[in-house]
């Protein structure tokens, strides 16, 4: 039975239990998630699951309720329907109900690699072995992950959709004399994940981080590597381009205004070749390329049907589970690169030649590999505090001169990307795996005029 068959089965149960007038939407996700984790240079955790989750949303007599279950037996599905029907009858009125998505075609298909979908623990362990070996005896830690997702949607308005995708990702560090170096990569196919290249990169960073010096906190010019830029995109997507927060005036985003440097264009596009995800959201809305920032001008925010109704807009296909509470999120955000370049491996800590090119243009500043534990002080200003991690270096006259101890920073993210603040954007966008949600940020490196380091992180 396909996921779409299960969705249809649930709709049939709803019709029997709640009558033809009840509006219903069903999402069925089957996820085969496998993750091989290593630390101290050996595999210490190795997990896999094969879980199908059915989500049912009902709206009846002005009331709305949502239920989910992982029990897909006939009794389990019946239980989901009965429980959700009961909930909707007892629920308080829902004045913000946006209605169901009408039938619409999908704008494209997502990408699946059959070998990745079928990958076993031995294939993931092979990448781990390569990563560990390439680190040349350094202590290593990280993971290799494969995911296959098959999703289906059906509602009583007649919209149906189905799709599948795969993801392969590796994220690891090498450790040397108390310093860590990182390498991270995401792809559609596990065959595109090379543990040896990633292990060597992480080791090069760790090696170049030995004996770091403490720099005084101050505002520094920075080159942020793609792994760090992904954090900017994540926070901009969650807090800035979130249509619900925007409608509530809790976001900095101002449509039509020049809020970013003219070199900045940010899009969300699950249909791009490097992306992960299915081409419809949990409300059944077809996903399309959405330009959030065009040459520095904020052009759009993301909407699900509920936030779109509140804002008087159309859904952009960004409903995810829970978005009715925290708002719709651009989970496939990409910062478009500067002049495209084919990256090559380079000596030293820069991740590749496109980062090295930006470093070469920095008179005095700091090269940052990764940002860590970033938290928002105020969503309206998008003031964020966090720390550097996995490699920081002082750059003088275009040369990396010495490793630096980690900083704490407190920075307004929109200001860091504001008009005149972006000195350069790297030519190679890197696809980076999400840690928590099914998110794929794609980012080139960034050369910024100023980043506010507010303290050292040493104890």
């Amino acid at each position: 039975m396909t996921e779409l068959d299960v969705a249809g089965q649930v709709l049939d149960l709803v019709k029997g239990a709640a009558g033809a007038q009840t509006e219903a939407a069903v999402t069925v996700d089957r996820a085969v998630l496998s993750l091989t984790r290593f630390a101290n240079s050996y595999i210490h955790q190795n997990v896999a699951e094969d879980t199908t989750t059915v989500r049912l949303q009902l709206h009846s007599d002005g009331r709305t309720a949502t239920g989910t279950t992982t029990i897909t037996t006939p009794d389990g599905l019946r239980g989901l329907v009965e429980r959700t029907v009961q909930a909707v009858e007892l629920s308080p009125p829902d004045k913000g109900w946006p209605g169901l998505a009408a039938p619409m075609p999908l704008a494209g298909a997502s990408r699946v690699d059959a070998d990745t979908a079928a990958a076993g623990p031995a294939e993931r362990a092979e990448r781990v072995r390569s990563f560990v070996d390439a680190a040349g005896g350094m202590e290593t830690a990280g993971y290799c992950r494969t995911t296959w997702l098959s999703a289906a949607f059906a509602n009583t308005a007649g919209q149906t959709a189905a799709g599948e995708c795969t993801e392969a990702a590796m994220d690891g560090i090498a450790r040397h004399a108390g310093a860590d170096g990182v390498a991270r990569h995401a792809a559609t196919a596990l065959s595109d994940v090379d543990g040896a290249i990633l292990g060597a990169r992480a080791a090069a960073k760790a090696r170049a981080s030995t004996d770091p010096v403490e720099l005084p906190p101050d505002r520094y010019e920075v080159v942020l590597e793609p792994t760090a830029v992904a954090d900017l995109l994540h926070n901009l997507a969650f807090w800035g381009f979130n249509g619900k927060l925007h409608a509530q005036r809790r976001s900095f985003a101002a449509l039509g205004e020049t809020q970013f440097d003219s070199s900045v264009t940010i899009v969300d596009d699950v249909l791009d070749t490097d992306e992960m995800g299915v081409p419809f959201d949990v409300e059944g809305t077809a996903k399309r390329r959405l330009v959030l920032v065009d040459a520095g001008v904020t052009r759009a925010v993301t909407h699900d049907r509920r936030s779109a109704r509140e804002a008087g807009a159309e859904s952009t296909g960004h409903a995810i589970p829970g978005s009715s509470s925290f708002g719709p999120i651009a989970v496939n955000a990409r910062l478009l690169p500067g002049a495209p370049s084919a990256p090559t491996e380079v000596d030293g800590p820069a991740v590749d030649s496109s980062v090295a090119a930006l470093v070469g243009g920095m008179r005095r500043g700091v090269l940052v590999s990764d940002l860590w534990y970033t938290r928002v002080l105020d969503p309206k200003t998008l003031a964020v505090t966090g720390l550097t991690r996995n490699g920081v270096w002082l750059v003088e006259n275009g040369e990396i001169v010495r490793p630096v101890r980690n900083f704490r920073f407190t920075q307004l993210y929109p200001q860091a990307l504001g008009p005149g603040a972006v000195i350069g954007i790297g030519g190679h966008p890197a696809a980076l795996p999400g840690s928590w949600a099914a998110e794929r940020m794609t980012a080139p490196a960034l050369h910024l005029a100023s980043w506010h380091f507010t303290g050292g992180a040493s104890g």
Binding site: T52, A125, R375, A383, R408, G455, A457, G459
Partner: protein, 478 residues
Amino acid sequence: MTQFDVAVSAVEAALAAGARYADARVMHRQYESMSARNGEIENLTSDENAGIGVRALVGSSWGFFAVPTLSDAAARDAGARAAAIASASASVPGPAVDLVPTAASVDSWASECLRDPLSVSLSDKGDLLVAATAAMRASGADQAEGLYQIWDTHKWFVSSEGHRIDQHIRECGAGISATAIGDGETQRRSYPSYRGHYGTRGWELVEELDLVAHAPRMAEEARALLSAPVCPEGTTTLILGGEQLALQIHESVGHAIELDRILGWEAAYAGTSWLDLARIGALQYGSELMNIAIDPTIPGALGSFGYDDEGTRAAARDAVREGTWVGVLAGRDSAAVAGLDYAGSVRADGWARLPMVRMTNVGLRPGPHTLDEIVAATDDGVYLETNRSWSIDDKRLNFQFGTEIGWEVKNGKLGRMLRNPTYTGIGPVFWRSMDMLSSEIVPWGTPNCGKGQPGQVGHTGHPAAPARFTNVRVGVRA
């Protein structure tokens, strides 16, 4: 076929496939949450999930497999697949794995619950959130939000050593927040804490919070914060409210004493710890007022249970005694690596996740003072309350917290309200500066502790009370 039967089948299959140890957890969980905004219900979710997670140890390598199907065949397949994954782990092998002994308990345990939260009518629960958010809106909030969450979890644990334990844990909690929106910023006030207060209790916990009665003050304070002076920058005496100190404990003590972090098992993601096992029993973590207990036996606290997810019976022990670091949060394998003789702090976020070292209830034992006495004894400082942001480095040393609200303290009295307060420091330096601690302990519950890959959300408890710290940097801004 009972849930125990299913778990036994999985363990048998893992052993038959080559495991020298295996355990299985069958779980059934119901989750319900409702949120309201500005006097209207915004979301009602009712989830149910069930499945089995099997852990197999082949040689010295672990494997784990989870599936939502509770049949004999599915359980046996899951057991065999866990063992196969463990065998694959051996291709990048590590040191020998031992498990510290634990009694092979056959037992049943349930958390105390006076009023089953799932049995309270949805309309009553909705009315509460509607009333609280409407009251905040009427008192000046631009955005008034309320949320409750309920978890009802049954677990059946079986191990190849003879464990056979079932547990029924009911958890719930609620909270409200008011946001005032100014020209360039927002201000938020939350009650009783950011995201609410939670425990292993029934709906009586929510009723005791009396959300509606506190709603107007939240809105009024959020509105007042928009025009309050900014918390000045500098080094001063800092008094923290109990809820904020609970998060301070969570981030700068609880995570630091997780043995898996200390051993480097979380190095690539959650991070390591500044603590060195060679110094346990000797390291001065904080002042003599600092007594931190690891105690999953506290009735009603969010991190309480009868047995952890390795079948170790809940027991209290000290983590910090009179300022000296003496204990860790450990599991059976990590304890063996560290040469310790206790475990008991391993839990998983559901059947589909691998059990790992997690906080239980990690909190302060009472001090000798009251908040009033602490304020009265302070000539010059700030009092900060209710978390707004939190960030800490991967060794759990350097932290920066923001709180929703602060007040000047001058000559033993609370003075002007302060907006955008932040404070920052280094964990052991900060804890060594604690010179006053209240006796007014509350077991604050944190239902959103993230750790692990794939990600897991943990529920932890943190007994805490107001306390005073000296020479703390405050007022950091962008």
